[in-house]
Symmetry: C3
Subunit: 351 residues, 3 copies
């Protein structure tokens, strides 16, 4: 439980009303109940400022009230950023700092780990593994031979990391994600069968990366599949072998990046997008949801559609597509009219 005063101090904001008003949680403004703190940032929700039952409301410094409201007010420079900080405050209050090894787990005596690590029950740590300080390995995690994991990284229950992969510091990997399974490489044989091409590379995940649930990142045929620092991957994403994803690129759920694609820095890919194999995508490229990129993309482009085109161009084409039957009718009408015109002109010519 935090008081308005504590929260205002934490946010370097000011209180209007009862300093001792206390809250136990954070709520969306339209769902605010007594005992919660809400915030107002999106103008769409302004009406709720005057009806919310939340005990505390976070408002921008410059927001002028248009009526009476019941919650205690905390004024900050930016209410949206403020609420993110408050969420962190509540989370850290709840967080149990898990430490130590739960029984039974399977930890090779030929592995090493730093200070203050947590190893959950039924976790499997193979030989040659190196864990940094404060690493948290939740139950049912599998860490294969010679994997390295940096300081402060959290690996949630059920993640599987194949042998030889490298995970950096301050990463979070959510449940169900699979790091380093074999890339999909098969050589067609004369008899119609396929022969497996061994995948002897690994996956390198740098620092400050978050990976969602059930995302798969395949090991390279040779060398490394590389996820550079600051990348954020959502759930159910496929990253194929030999791919490289540049710094601070953000990829939404169910997107697939095919083999050997190189993606630049600070890109934003929406959900269910796809990139065909062996392409280069520049920096700061955005790909709209469900779009399928089938050619190289220079930096700073916005792509949309399947096959993907520049977004503005695709939109213009799609506007016409929506009314194609009318266009078709117009053409059919023209064909008739032109036939009449031609006939009349011919008959004139014959006169």
């Amino acid at each position: 439980m935090f008081s308005a005063e504590t929260i205002a101090n934490y946010l370097k904001g000011t209180v209007e009303g009862d300093l001792s008003t206390s809250v136990t949680s954070v709520a969306r403004i339209e769902q605010g109940k007594p005992g919660t703190l809400c915030f107002f940032a999106n103008p769409k929700y302004e009406k709720y400022v005057y009806t919310t039952k939340a005990s505390i409301i976070l408002l921008n410094k410059d927001y002028e009230l248009k009526g009476k409201i019941t919650p205690t007010i905390i004024r900050v420079d930016n209410a949206y950023e403020g609420v993110a900080s408050v969420l962190g405050l509540f989370e850290s209050a709840k967080a149990v700092n898990k430490k130590g090894c739960e029984y039974p787990s399977k930890i090779s005596w030929r592995s090493k780990r730093g200070k203050n690590c947590y190893i959950g029950a039924f976790a499997y740590i193979a030989k040659g593994v190196k864990l940094g300080d404060n690493v948290k390995i939740y139950p049912h995690v599998y860490i294969g031979d010679n994997v390295t994991i940096g300081d402060n990284t959290i690996v949630y229950s059920g993640v599987k990391i194949y042998h030889g992969c490298v995970v950096g510091a301050n990463c979070i990997i959510h449940s169900g994600s699979i790091i380093g399974a074999d890339g999909f490489g098969f050589a067609p044989q004369a008899n119609g069968e396929y022969k497996k091409i061994p995948q002897i590379g690994n996956v390198v995940i740098e620092d400050n990366i978050e990976i969602g649930a059930c995302t798969t990142i395949d090991r390279s045929t040779m060398g490394s599949t590389v996820i550079h620092s600051g990348v954020k991957l959502d759930n159910l994403i496929q990253i194929a072998h030999n791919v490289e994803i540049g710094k601070n690129t953000v990829i939404a759920a169910q997107t697939g990046i095919a083999g050997s694609v190189k993606v630049g820095e600070n890109c934003v890919f929406a959900g269910q997008a796809g990139i065909v194999g062996h392409l280069n995508v520049g920096d700061r490229v955005t790909i709209a949801s469900k779009s399928g990129v089938s050619n190289n993309v220079p930096s700073d482009r916005a792509m949309l559609g399947f096959p993907a085109m520049e977004a503005s161009k695709y939109k213009r084409s799609f506007v016409v597509f929506r009314n194609l039957p009318e266009l078709k009718n117009a053409v059919d009408e023209l064909i008739k009219k032109v036939a009449v015109l031609e006939k009349n002109q011919d008959s004139k010519a014959d006169e």
Copy 2:
């Protein structure tokens, strides 16, 4: 093994032929072998009525045989509904009523559970967890702190449920599904990096819900991601944070629902569909497979395409799309003809 007589009694049907004919399994009509029961419901398969080697065939009461057949016949009002009941009969005969705790599992002494629960080996039940009566927790399941699970719910091997989530009664969650991983929320920073927005909410799954394999349902930023009673989710589905899915909505595999979307009741979404974030979708809406919804959808609409349009309208546009080259040619032809007409008219005018 069940006799024709037993099955007919169970279905309130009538037998034509040997009451003692017995079967050990159920088969599709085109694959019927001696010792199996098959059924005829889809007219497309009528020829198999006269060739199937199944021992028993389920027929509609009013179906008139057009020739001699070998299986013993059971007549029922509706053969299709009948076979669903027979499948249940066979399943319940096979079902082992798993009970008790297998060793080794990890069950916090600060958790509680009702009567007749099954806890499989290597399951992890954290502190504060509450399980109802007859709950079945299969091996390798992870149940985080303070999770609640209602009566009769089955959680299959390898499911992970993060702390604080709530699962109702009579639910089935299949292997590999992840409930309550962090929502995908990051605030862009001035230097191009992203800062995690803590996700302090949870997931609430009400009653009578089935969730397929490897489906991910993210916890809310604040408040709850809510799946209402009777919803059926297939495999590999993404439900993002803050989403709400209405009662009895059915969603097929690989569909993705982006953050803060509100879906109504009794909708049917086909496979690989997607809904962009923050949209409202009404009741009884159908979305065709692979379609991408990018605007709010009122109740009772059928949507198709990417971006999705009303299905009938999209189909009309697509019919023209299929023949766009011909349309283009027609226009090119018209341009030539009109140029000739203009020239002729001009030359006439000059005369």
Copy 3:
């Protein structure tokens, strides 16, 4: 570590340079470092032949050098096939032949297994399970009642195989894949609810099949969902109940095959493709990435688009789509011109 001489002997190739040059790994030509072997096959990379720092380079027999190069050369008939063999050589050198049962695992005394099996810690082998010789079951794998697995098959960490399923010989199943969860079958009820149709069938996976990470293959309603020999499935693929996939068909990541579809032999489906339920797809069919097949497809067709059309036809339509605004403008222009022509002709007629 392998010498040029050893590798050349293994590949039946010839060495140009120092026979004793040794390497510890394989690299892409553009990333070659001392101590690695690289290869040149794709003309796009020819410049790197003359700059690579790799110690050994694999060249086609007939490739004529256009300058001086530093690596020791191994000449073979086909450098691309050669490198696949070399990868196998390195992999087999690294491979630890895992054997025996790690503690703690849960192995029913009513299961059977052949010679030289590996059962990892926390693996769960239920009653009635039969494992062939040399089977490898990694940690956290769940094998349900009465499952059969053939010789030499590898099941990686975290795979779940439901009761009654059959897996053949020489298969590889990667982490996170779920075999035999219930098919998605529900009968709509008058009150808007859905009633589960029991799924009493199983999944049959034949021989020489590889299944990627987090792929889901549902059990049949009755009978079997069948994956025939030699099929290769990538990650995050959905195979619904009652599906049959023909021999040597290859399916890339995130593709979904809906219920009761029958796919032929030697097909190639690219990523994120989809096939609507109950369709028949012939042999040697290719489906382009993101394409959605909504009709039966005869053998030897190439399909593209959503809804999928023959690829060549779709491409022709899409070329026009890209320039639809121009087409629309041309039609608008024609409408004006024809109106003028009609007016002029009318006025002529009036003269």
